[in-house]
Assembly symmetry: C4
Homo-oligomer: 234 residues x 4
């Protein structure tokens, strides 16, 4: 009788599962909406053969913006995902920090469209970078709030994990801020730095591996599985 599993156990309270569902939905939509910035060129039927190839080549800034933004949003999705690996509960300010984070994520399709349309304009390059700075800052805030005094995480979460997780996010914020400043000198260099950051997150170099190796286990850097995780499932 009393053993029957209830549909949603009471003690879960305002758990994180529906917040994760909303988050994954918004990430999925923001990523997919990016493709709407790629408009099919309108060419009269008689001129298609001659003009369509060039018209498509002219889309390169939009293609670049698509690929870059998809990967950048992916980096933040993985980062958020990894943070939630450690976060056990949600409270009111935490939920609202997440919604503000999502508001910045959902804004990326606009920033990406702006970058794709005006890849050489300082203001477009700068706004794109500022969008990423704000997203990163919100992600840092979420981690900081959740881990301060182990507010929403397990009491035995290692301080090294807390620090490494925060540092990883902060590095991205600082580099993107530098890239925004760099756009005053050269938009090309600035965009190059935008591209470099996710590559660094995806393909960690020697330094990164060294740092991570010391700081483990499972720094919420958006990429790693805590050691022991894989083996425990084998």
């Amino acid at each position: 009788m009393t053993e029957g599993p209830p549909e949603r156990p009471r003690q879960v309270g305002l758990g994180t599962s529906r917040l994760e569902t909303l988050t994954d939905g918004i990430f999925a939509i923001a990523m997919t909406l990016l493709v709407l910035n790629l408009q099919v060129p309108q060419i009269p039927a008689a001129l298609v053969t001659g003009r369509l190839p060039h018209a498509l080549l002219d889309l390169w800034p939009k293609l670049l913006s698509y690929a870059l933004s998809f990967v950048v949003v992916g980096v933040y999705w993985v980062g958020h995902h990894n943070q939630f690996h450690y976060i056990r509960r949600a409270d009111r300010p935490f939920i609202w920090m997440n919604i503000l984070f999502l508001m910045c994520i959902a804004f990326i399709p606009f920033s990406a469209a702006l970058l794709g349309a005006y890849v050489h304009a300082r203001i477009a390059v700068g706004i794109y970078g500022l969008n990423l700075v704000v997203v990163g800052a919100a992600l840092y805030l979420i981690w900081w709030y959740a881990t301060a005094d182990h507010r929403l995480v397990d009491p035995d979460l290692a301080p090294t994990v807390v620090q490494a997780g925060g540092r990883r996010v902060l590095v991205g914020v600082v580099v993107y801020l530098l890239a925004v400043l760099l756009s005053l000198l050269s938009t090309v260099l600035s965009v190059a730095l935008y591209i470099a950051v996710p590559i660094l997150y995806i393909l960690p170099g020697r330094i990164d591996r060294h740092v991570m190796g010391r700081l483990t286990p499972g720094a919420p850097d958006g990429e790693r599985i805590p050691p022991g995780t894989a083996s425990s499932q084998e």
Copy 2:
């Protein structure tokens, strides 16, 4: 052996889980579609440097509408989320009340576009507010229907929770109705009130905390974790 949990236990019936999935999906999409109201300005290449900054500044009503609407939809998502913390079952009328509620939520990207395009026009400001009134009224209806005679909630759900939950939603409806009426006098004041309401919901003042403190536990006001929830997970 034969007792092994089936994929979907029979006794769950028309439970609330798929309704929540649909709900979270529609909320996530409605929130993300808001960004489509922000169109990148079309400026000839030679004039970009001079004109793009001003063209972007001119987007301020659309940016305001984006941020406001994202947060407002967030408030309703949290409110709905919290109601479903207490709701155990679904029946036919309940499902349809939810679908009508979602129809009003999915309409917000249009109302937001209207507000962003005509922020000084009474009719635009009024329609936006009426949309929010109807959403709130539908959310109240859902709560009322679910809790009347404990129809879809646990039989021991405290009356204070039922009342506090309903009151919180009703307050929003009444204030938005006042804001709509206020738009006849001043669209600026009306929009200011639209902005004030979600801030009040997010950052509860002293009165709010006093009221909530008396009415706990876990008023479905979109923000609180029932006391004991957090600790039970620690």
Copy 3:
């Protein structure tokens, strides 16, 4: 001990859960995309006060199409949902019948846009109705395939449930087919019938209740909870 439940139990195989996730996603998006058919009127600033109200009133066919289509898609979502209450497994043809069903659902935003733009044109009214006929036929096919010889349902599923479920879907198909034919005589009557059908599904009249009362338990008609379900959860 070491047998602890793996993340996804093996015996579930190609279960129905991810198919349901995809389904709910496509339904949620199709429902929310309907709002994109409502375009904010473009009016010069000086003329807004005079013209905006009339321009908004002129949107009535699009508003009608929005509300009608949202509810109609809701009816099919509930119907699909209820079928899956009884369906235990998926096989290859079944998955593809579902994807074809979803292809017809995802087409509704186009049919709805056509209806909203040309509410008096026979061909627009007819295409909208045919879309609904095909959706209903696909839903019937899914039910027929899953229940024939109890292929994908429990072996003890009552024949009355199978029959009632199929009949409910077929009634909708037939009425929509009649409405399409009626559009040759009068598009107004045809649209009126489109509106009447979901109302009949949502608010069952006396006859409907009588029929359902005899055919229970739990006809997958998109609306009912099987008797005993609610009580078993109390």
Copy 4:
């Protein structure tokens, strides 16, 4: 004992469930966005009766592209779904291969719009095919990476399953590559081949069944339920 299952068990680590949620979301959105390529023809009110039917008939390449792309994306969804039936864990490179795979899936609405607009242009037909080639190659890469040395699958997964799964995906890649080359000779034949491939995946012919019969159980070909699965649930 009394500590009951935590909301998300620790040992799951970076499991595959949220990756699947993101995947299903992006698939659902990419499939549904395809309909936005179908624009309602703009016709003056007085001319609707005469011109609308022809304008709708002129949409046939876009309709073809819609139906083809929906089914093709469906094939990849089922293929990905079936791979994940065997995949138990995720690691950093695996997650990124999946995000790159999703980036190619989310690009299909653009390729489909291009094909729908310029169905006779070699470059449009070629780009559409190349998109499918890249999607298939990414899906192959995911399978190869996960199964090499049984990295992310169960150690006892039969080599025949691994090989059959890879071969099935590769066949699609090769045929789409041939179709792209064929577009240099005839865009009509090329498109015909695009249409033939999903039909072959959906409706397996005698040869296919023979091959699959030898290679079972449960080749992740996007269509089959592992033998024993169905019966174990009965």
